[in-house]
Every structure is written in C-alpha cells, then in structure tokens.
C-alpha cells in the first residue's frame, strides 16, 4: 500500500515560532502537495512540487514556504507562526504524467496545528 506519512498528528505551537511540518511518501511519486483544510472552506492548496527542488505556489502561499531536497520528502515551513494558521494540514502525493492511475492523490492523515 502507498504510504504518505506526516510526522505529527497534533501540534501545538506559540505565536512567532518557526514550525516545520514534514511529509514522506514511499511510492516514488514526482508530485507532492500541501493543502490546508478549514471548516466551510474545504481544502486549499498552499504549495506543490513536481520534482526535487521544484516548487509552485498554490492558492494561499502567504506565510508559508516549502522545501523538497529529496524526492520522498516535502516539508512545509511556517517562518513565524500566527494564530490564523491554526488549521488542519494535509500532505498528498501522486505520479506525474499519464499513467493508469497517475491522477489519483494519496493523502497523509493530516496534522492538526494549533497556534496559541
């Protein structure tokens, strides 16, 4: 089974702290994504990467950065956490290109981040 692992299920941080959310996938997927999930707003894309060291801004990149130094790992960084970044963060991955099921996203089980 494909596995997308997020390092923490729950995280509590203080305002102004630097926060790292880690995501690792074991299926050699080229694409990796970070989404934020909020009630009534659904899932919104923060950043995605289609290759090592490549990154693209999503719909809500402000206040976030990302790092992809290895194919299997995609990190989301909150440089200075703020209370409005309290949310559920979901990592996902997929193959790139037209393969039999390449367009399917595989998700991690999410990190619930609280910024106090």
């Amino acid at each position: 089974d494909v596995k997308v692992t997020q390092s923490s299920r729950y995280l509590v941080k203080r305002t102004g702290e630097k926060v790292f959310l880690e995501c690792v996938q074991d299926m050699d997927h080229e694409n990796m994504f970070w989404y934020r999930q909020d009630p009534g707003l659904g899932l919104r894309l923060i950043y995605f990467s289609y290759d090592v060291k490549m990154k693209e801004k999503g719909d809500i990149p402000e206040g976030y950065s990302v790092s992809r130094e290895k194919k299997e790992r995609f990190s989301l960084i909150l440089e200075s956490a703020s209370t409005n970044q309290t949310s559920m963060y979901l990592c996902a991955s997929s193959f790139r290109g037209r393969k039999s099921t390449n367009e399917k996203l595989f998700f991690g089980s999410g990190t619930q981040l609280s910024v106090l």
């Binding site: 009534g40 899932l43 894309l45 996902a92 390449n102 996203l105 089980s109």
Partner: protein, 119 residues
Amino acid sequence: AQTVTQSQPEMSVQEAETVTLSCTYDTSESDYYLFWYKQPPSRQMILVIRQEAYKQQNATENRFSVNFQKAAKSFSLKISDSQLGDAAMYFCAYRMSWVSNFGNEKLTFGTGTRLTIIP
C-alpha cells in the same frame, strides 16, 4: 481559474436509503478529471470515484455512482443503500488533464458536504 462548488454543507439520510450529493464546477478546459473523495473521522482521505471528462459514460463503484453532465458542468454523487460507514465529509475535486498542463496536476476541491447516516 477553476472553481468547484458544493452547495450542501450538510446532508442526512436514513440507513439503506439513497442520497445524492451535488457538485458543480467551472472550467474552460475540455479535458479534465473529476473526483469524489471521502474523509471519515479518522481524517484519512479516500478516493470514492473518478470520472474522465472525455468519457460520456457515468462512473460507478459498487454502491457509488455519478451523474456527470458535462454541458451543465455538474458532477453529483449518488450513494445507494447507505450504510453507517458512509458517514463522512465528502469532497468534490477537479483536475486539469496532464496532456495540456504538464507540471500543474493539482486538485481543486469544493468546500465539502458532511453526510450523516441515521440508523
């Protein structure tokens, strides 16, 4: 920009009955994919069903089927014989085809519908 709209924040259905969740989307593309994902309380997103826009036949997966109306840009999910395990948040999602948008294979999601199953 593509948008996905789910106009029903919450739905409920009696166990064993049928329920339909609505989804509309906006795009200028002709080739794309549509998905329904389920998120149970465990938070693990599970793909329920997918539809390729160039296929006229509606996708089905056991008790789950879709009504894909390309001209109307509508993509509803029908759950037959509802079971307690179907209780979850359901998200509709859109993705452009890889052929025309290499490197841009992100999914755009709707705001979700919370489905409650009444025993």
